[in-house]
């Protein structure tokens, strides 16, 4: 196999010295982590490498020599470098050489044992791959390869060679902690040798996070304890709490905040990203909510809204009344059963009248209610939107009632199967009576005209002829209900979007694309005959769609449970639909 030497770009202009790194025999790759400069004491070098090996669990060793000189190395230097191979025995021994100011690289590999097969021409034996050490150290490969074996140098052979390189560089952080200003026994060149990178803000945040997390965690546990007390489990409050989407959203946000400010440290990078994404989502939510709040409370917009609300409700009720008058006449030229039409029409008109009275009763308090509801926007835009969705549900409660009446009574028995429990199954049974069954001796006994057969047939005929009227009312109210459901659905989608958007990951992908790596890409550098092949390895960033898919936060499950086919079937048979039911709720 061709030997691959991974060389950091920061060491390209370093002085001559020893190559320190890790040899991966399964992929025949040598990962050079740093260059150790002359002069050094071999014993101290061996001690340092043993310390690094113990601290980082990476099999760091001296891989060979690096020569960066003005011209070709002289005889004495050549023999000196070869002699080092005896001091630091390693199989195979690399000898990299570069002319100062030139682009000519040469690389020789010496095996202590004689190779079994005749060696290929020199340029095919080694491949030089340059990598940016800082980027490879900070980046994270997706999909993450789990390396369970953490002993020194042991890597399962099933992982790819590149994953092993990334893992080696990431785990060798101990080696990069000293820079050239340290008074250590050895002088190393790596990506931090010009000065260790650190940030004052990050350090301050790290120190402050401890007590802040403790305080906030205790506050949040107090809030959850209040929310979990027995009062809220009693029947009226628990029913109301399960129906309102605001309570669901508040619970969701409380869960998020508890996770963010919990005292447990994140175990791996995926959990850390999730925590930071949640924090970013909460901050965005609160920022948008405060913007909305300032907009609402400025220039008495709440007053305008409140003034506009009652006339709008009146207008909607008037339109509904016109619709019912139209249905009571001859809608679209259809001939309806006059008596049933009048009954149903008057029944629904009375309901609208009740509802209008209720709205007029509430009208003096609307502005105060809206003002207090607007205050909830400081908890977040999602809470305000959930409240809006709940208010729409409350205001269109009459449409919901009409839909339920229509589904339950107007089209109950025509098409429903006779065995569904709790429903009046007049027509269903009648239809069942009309179905042919196998004629046997038991049936011969029942062959005479029974009262059941007579009443069943009568009921069936009556309900069949009343079907157009009832079906029309059902159709109209179902369409209205679907309209309201669609509006609520849009609001829920928006809330879901804000809840699950991984803002931090998207920002990271935008500003620091090398942190989230889908893979690598190679570029062939200038090649000379007789010289080893040189490649530049760069990080291939993750596409935005995969960032969204990998890091999206779990939403509160407000997705439509039924597929389109199931929905149409339910509508046709008159079953009640609740498309935005939360998971775990019983379906009616």
């Amino acid at each position: 196999m061709v030997l691959k030497a991974f060389f950091p770009t920061c060491c390209v202009s370093a002085d001559s010295g020893l190559l320190v790194g890790r040899w991966v025999p399964e992929h025949s790759s040598a990962v050079v982590l740093a260059v150790l400069h002359f002069p050094f004491i071999p014993v101290q070098v061996k001690q340092l490498l043993a310390q690094v090996r113990q601290a980082s669990q990476v099999g760091v060793a001296v891989l060979g020599t690096w020569c960066h000189c003005r011209q070709e190395p002289e005889e004495s230097l050549g023999r000196f470098l070869e002699g080092l191979g005896a001091v630091f025995p390693h199989e195979p021994w690399l000898q990299l050489c570069r002319e100062r100011g030139g682009t000519f690289w040469s690389c020789e590999v010496t095996h202590q044992q004689a190779p079994a097969a005749p060696s290929a021409p020199g340029e095919d034996q080694v491949m030089l791959i340059f990598y940016d050490q800082r980027q490879v150290l900070l980046s994270q490969l997706h999909p993450p390869t789990v390396l369970p074996d953490r002993q020194a140098g042991a890597t399962p052979a099933s992982t790819g060679g590149l994953a092993a390189v990334f893992d080696t560089v990431a785990r060798s952080e101990v080696l990069f902690r000293s820079d050239r200003f340290d008074e250590g026994p050895v002088r190393l060149s790596h990506w931090q040798s010009e000065g260790v990178e650190a940030s004052i803000l990050a350090e301050l945040a790290r120190r402050a996070s401890g007590p802040v997390c403790l305080l906030l965690a205790s506050l949040l546990s107090l809030v959850s304890a209040v929310g979990a007390c027995r009062v809220f489990k009693l029947w009226p409050l628990s029913f109301v709490g399960s129906k309102l989407s605001t309570c669901e959203q508040l619970r969701h946000r409380l869960e998020h905040l508890t996770l963010i400010f919990s005292m447990r440290k994140a175990e791996n990078s995926a959990q850390l990203m999730r925590k930071v994404n949640m924090l970013a989502s909460v901050l965005l939510d609160v920022a948008l909510g405060l913007t909305l709040l300032s907009w609402l409370h400025g220039r008495s917009r709440i007053g305008h809204l409140a003034d506009a609300l009652v006339p709008v409700a009146d207008h909607v009720a008037e339109e509904l009344q016109h619709l019912l008058q139209w249905l009571m006449g001859a809608p679209a030229g259809l001939k309806m059963n006059r008596a049933l039409d009048q009954v149903l029409g008057r029944f629904f008109l009375y309901h609208i009248h009740l509802w209008i009275s209720y709205i007029h009763l509430m009208s003096p308090f609307v502005e105060h209610i809206l003002w207090h509801v607007g205050l909830s926007a400081c908890l977040g835009l999602t809470v305000a939107l959930s409240l809006l969705s709940d208010i729409i549900a409350l205001l269109t409660f009459h449409i919901y009632c009409f839909y339920v009446y229509g589904a339950r009574w107007a089209v109950p028995s025509s098409l429903r199967k006779p065995q569904s429990p709790g429903c009046s199954s007049g027509m269903g049974e009648g239809a069942a009576l009309g179905r042919p069954w196998a004629w046997g001796p038991a049936d011969a006994r029942r062959a005479g005209p029974s009262p059941q057969l007579f009443i069943g047939t009568l009921l069936f005929t009556i309900l069949l002829f009343l079907l157009p009227t009832t079906a029309l009312y059902y159709l109209v109210f179902t369409l209205l209900r679907l309209l309201v459901v669609a509006v609520q659905g849009l609001i829920h989608l928006l809330v879901d979007l804000i809840n699950s958007l991984p803002l931090y990951s998207l920002g990271l992908r935008l500003c620091r694309p090398y942190r989230l790596a889908a893979g690598v890409k190679f570029r062939v550098l200038q090649h000379e005959a007789g010289r080893p092949l040189r490649l530049l390895m760069q990080i291939n960033p993750l596409p935005y769609s995969r960032v969204m898919h990998t890091y999206r936060l779990p939403s509160c499950g407000c997705h439509p449970k039924d597929s389109w086919g199931a929905l149409c079937r339910k509508l046709f048979f008159g079953e009640l639909i609740y498309p935005w039911r939360q998971r775990g709720d019983k379906q009616d």
């Binding site: 196999m1 061709v2 691959k4 025949s28 079994a116 097969a117 290929a120 021409p121 340029e123 095919d124 491949m127 791959i129 099933s158 790819g160 060679g161 590149l162 893979g519 690598v520 890409k521 190679f522 062939v524 090649h527 000379e528 005959a529 007789g530 010289r531 092949l533 490649l535 291939n540």
Partner: protein, 224 residues
């Protein structure tokens, strides 16, 4: 330095064995001193458009194939622009609203930018490096490049497959990936040169070179 290779003269992919030896001799005798052997030939794609295949042999273990698609033609661009603007002018005469004309200009500009950045692929490159992997790069007309790299451990083989595409049966080159669970299974088929869609003669050239490298890689990986 550009050298011209003799015509391969192959009809079927079956007769590849002796042709490999012929190819190797031809490469060796034309080698310049620069170290990179470059070669350019023109082929055609499945619709009859002209493609240019540029081969670079960096070393016996590293080869690159660069397929250039035909550029955006001025004729089609003019035709589309004229159609959109005529339609917009027709709407304008109906509605007397000058926003339609500005909207048509914006739509044309944005559509052209979007087409150049997301749809129109200028060049497709296949870089195969022994014992490292295979890299496929697509360069869009706006300069954007999208790269995929597959490690050699995951590559099972490179084959030429047949497919039904609209009303035609076409050949395409694809990379077969190993299944980690089943040793003889295939987990994925990755097609190469998807937007250039060259014909069989071009595919055979690329196939032969890739098989040389894969054979060499299999031989060295099994040896201790």
């Amino acid at each position: 330095m550009v050298t011209r290779l003799p015509e391969a003269g192959l009809e079927r992919a079956g007769r590849l064995g002796p042709a490999i030896a012929v190819e190797r001799r031809a490469v060796r005798c034309g080698r310049p001193s620069g170290g990179v052997m470059e070669d350019e030939r023109s082929f055609s794609d499945i619709c009859g458009g002209r493609l240019a295949l540029q081969r670079r042999y960096y070393s016996p273990s590293c080869r690159e194939f660069c397929l250039s698609c035909p550029r955006l033609s001025l004729r089609s661009l003019t035709a589309v622009t004229c159609t959109v603007w005529l339609a917009a002018y027709g709407l304008f005469t109906l509605c007397e609203n000058s926003m339609i004309l500005s909207a048509a200009i914006f739509i044309t500009l944005l559509g052209l930018l979007g087409y150049l950045h997301f749809v129109k692929i200028d060049q497709e490159t296949l870089l195969i490096i022994d014992s490292l992997g295979i890299q496929m790069t697509s360069s869009y007309a706006s300069g954007k490049e999208s790269t995929t790299f597959i490690e050699m451990d995951k590559v099972k083989d490179i084959v030429i497959n047949e497919a039904i595409y609209m009303q035609k049966v076409i050949y395409y080159l694809c990379i077969l990936l190993k299944d980690p669970v089943e040793p003889h299974g295939i987990s994925q088929v990755v097609p190469v040169f998807q937007s250039a869609k060259p014909r069989l003669d071009c595919l055979i050239e690329v196939y032969r070179s890739c098989q040389e490298i894969l054979a060499h890689q299999k031989a060295t990986s099994t040896s201790p």
